[in-house]
């Protein structure tokens, strides 16, 4: 089997359960299956498994409860954060030649800028990481389908609008969270609770200090969006197990 086809087979089989992946790759290697037919066979197996997986309610909860809200809201959030950061960076770099009274009147103070950018950056990272984690944990083998939806929306967003630095943070946090969500075992409860508390507290600070997204949304709408993006963090805290030190006899 050629290198490229084998690589494609290896990538495709990542959506299978670990033991099945092991058996399938071993069988293909042992039978020295020809490249393209083997690839088609594996595609058939992956498709069948995906169809089976989507018979449960969990992938749908992950799709409509996490993937779609996260894909659209966070892409917009990242774009606005990038613009806000640019504005305050410009103010910071020209601070010496600007009239402090004008800045005070317009509200574009460095203190306010640091608060907005800092809370929003942290929120973006937390929402994206916990979203990726919960998406992987809830979707199970359907994760790849749901992740493809998120990635397609983000790629489309970057293509239609301008790519920005906020999207980079979004991608990195999402991938790291998803990777952790796919790993066996649970994260310590203290970490999960800390993330959930940070998500809720920072949302409140952001909404009541400067507003999330742009001024077009009312406080109630912003609260609803923040709740939609924060529930994966709360889910993570709810499902995490308390980390206990082993008892030494």
């Amino acid at each position: 089997m050629s290198g490229a086809v084998w690589w494609a087979v290896e990538v495709l089989t990542r959506s299978l359960a670990d033991e099945e992946r092991e058996a399938v790759l071993g069988d293909l290697q042992e039978s020295q299956s020809a490249g393209f037919p083997a690839l088609l066979g594996v595609m058939g197996l992956v498709l069948r498994r995906q169809v089976q997986t989507w018979r449960s309610w969990r992938p749908y909860l992950a799709l409509f409860g996490i993937a779609l809200p996260m894909a659209f809201l966070l892409a917009d959030f990242a774009r606005i954060l990038a613009r806000t950061s640019e504005l305050y960076l410009w103010i910071a770099s020209n601070y010496a030649v600007m009239d402090p009274d004008v800045l005070e009147e317009t509200g574009f103070t460095l203190w306010r800028g640091s608060l907005i950018c800092g809370t929003h950056l942290l929120l973006l990272a937390i929402w994206s990481w916990t979203g990726g984690f919960a998406l992987a944990a809830i979707s199970g083998l359907a994760f790849w389908g749901n992740a493809a939806v998120v990635c397609a929306v983000w790629c489309l967003h970057a293509r239609l609008l301008e790519p920005n630095a906020g999207m980079l943070l979004l991608w990195i946090s999402f991938l790291l969270g998803a990777r952790r969500g796919m790993q066996p075992g649970v994260i310590p409860r203290s970490t999960a609770v800390l993330l959930a508390v940070c998500a809720v507290a920072l949302s409140a600070v952001a909404i009541y200090s400067a507003g999330l997204w742009h001024a077009g949304y009312s406080v109630r709408q912003q609260l609803a969006m923040a709740l939609l993006l924060s529930w994966p963090a709360c889910y993570m805290a709810r499902t995490s197990h308390a980390f206990r030190k082993p008892v030494l006899h």
Binding site: A23, D27, E30, S31, S33, P37, A38, G41, L45
Partner: protein, 104 residues
């Protein structure tokens, strides 16, 4: 009653005994039918048979020939033997008096 592919899979598993796993079952079916056996059909049918309690599978040892990857070993259960026997009897009764290979 069993499906045709399920019967082929059970027959190959019974014939291979302790050497029954994905690659050998697939090779046996291809040899019997003379047609390619899709790996997708093989593994989904194996799962279905296992859910029905007709086969049992477990992860077996790895060999260098398989790139160090484990095998999914398959064993037919008494329920699987019973279902295959029933299928065989039905096919035999259905073909009594017929000569497919030398039609007149």
């Amino acid at each position: 009653m069993l499906g045709e592919f399920e019967y082929l899979l059970l027959s190959a598993t019974a014939a291979l005994q302790d050497e029954a796993y994905g690659a050998t079952i697939r090779a046996a079916i291809e040899e019997t039918t003379g047609a390619p056996c899709s790996i997708g059909a093989l593994y989904t049918t194996l799962d279905r048979l296992e859910q029905k309690g007709m086969v049992k599978t477990r992860m077996g040892g790895a060999t260098a020939q398989r790139g160090g990857r484990a095998k999914r070993m398959v064993r037919i259960t008494p329920k699987g033997i019973e279902a295959a026997t029933q299928f065989y009897r039905v096919m035999r009764r259905a073909t009594i008096g017929l000569a497919w290979e030398n039609p007149s």
